[in-house]
């Protein structure tokens, strides 16, 4: 079978695997999805699992190119909210979220960041990160294991590559 490009012109078969045609958005999404720079927002015990355990040698988030987990909104794509958001810390979560450049996503790690967790009825706990900021991926657990965090990152990668996967 003769290999042709999208214009119907014949082309060497080696180039077929090297040259791709796609919309610019798809190319950019591919770059975004494979080089997530997270802003690690550790608020409580979940930070040990989500930010330290996952970055440690055993689970090694760096394999996926999500190496640069810094506590700053500079260049960050994803905010990893790990821990209990109290009424006092909520303004800081929102402020850092607003300081991040678009496009940006959010991963809520653990019961507390999802819904307030065991402290949902407390007098000083925000019932979930989504009360403040839009959340893309929820990682359940108390605490979630590091491999669950990695799974959350991969779910987010699928969403960035093709936003249609989350449409109903």
């Amino acid at each position: 079978m003769e290999v042709t490009n999208d214009k119907g012109m014949p082309m060497p078969s080696e180039l077929k695997r090297l040259v791709h045609f796609a919309s610019l958005e798809k190319v950019l999404n591919m770059a975004r999805a494979h080089s997530i720079w997270p802003l690690g927002f550790g608020l409580a015990c979940c930070a040990i699992e989500a930010l330290m355990g996952t970055n440690g040698p055993r689970y090694d988030l760096s394999r996926f190119g999500y190496e640069v987990m810094r506590p700053t909104p500079r260049q960050a794509d994803v905010m990893v909210v790990a821990g209990t958001i109290t009424t006092k810390s909520a303004p800081f979560v929102l402020r850092l979220w607003e300081q991040m450049a678009e496009p940006k996503w959010c991963i809520a790690v653990g019961s507390c960041a999802i819904s307030g967790g065991p402290f949902v009825d407390s007098y000083f706990v925000v019932p979930g990160a989504r009360q403040i900021i839009p959340v893309d991926v929820y990682v359940p657990g108390c605490p979630p294991r590091p491999d669950a965090i990695i799974d959350g990152f991969l779910k987010l990668r699928a969403k960035i590559l093709d936003p249609k996967v989350v449409e109903l």
Binding site: K88, G116, V120, S122, Y123, F124, P127
Partner: protein, 160 residues
């Protein structure tokens, strides 16, 4: 200064006849508190305030004391855990205040570490420490209403 705790407590009993003592605990009135604490630090070497906390004892067990009618609204107890680092001794001092007018002298002049711990007790119980250098809320926001660790604290909210 090799002294056992029982000796220390009996010596204190001579100096402060009003205090109630048990094996490792001293109950003291708010008037005697500061003098006793200074004595404990300067003469008996209790140089470290391990912990300062409080407990709420409302008049009725359910904690729904009616402030207007009830003559006795109950009490709150402030608990000081003291350590003598050199002698390896541990001592508990307790003082009670009324829930209506919870005021007690600050022990910040004796142990500087009491600063934040007294702020925390003020934050969660509403006990006022007179003479404290900076008595404002430390855990909750300044505009927070009520004192959450009191037994009659009611709060509606949370899950939606």
């Amino acid at each position: 200064m090799e002294k056992k705790l029982s000796e220390i407590i009996s010596e204190l009993k001579e100096k402060f006849p009003q205090i109630k003592t048990s094996e490792e605990t001293i109950s003291v009135s708010t008037e005697d508190l500061l003098g006793l604490m200074q004595e404990l630090k300067n003469s008996f070497g209790f140089n470290y305030l391990t912990n300062l906390t409080a407990a709420d004892y409302p008049a009725d067990a359910k904690g729904k004391g009616d402030g207007d009618e009830a003559e006795d609204d109950g009490e709150m107890e402030i608990v000081y855990n003291l350590t003598s680092v050199y002698e390896k001794l541990y001592l508990t001092v307790k003082a009670r205040v009324s829930r209506k007018n919870p005021e007690i002298p600050s022990v910040f002049p004796v142990w500087g570490g009491a600063n934040w711990q007294e702020r925390e007790v003020y934050d969660l119980f509403g006990i006022v420490f007179t003479g404290h250098p900076n008595l404002k809320r430390i855990l909750l926001t300044d505009n927070f209403e009520g004192y959450p660790l009191r037994k009659d604290y009611q709060w509606v909210g949370g899950r939606k």
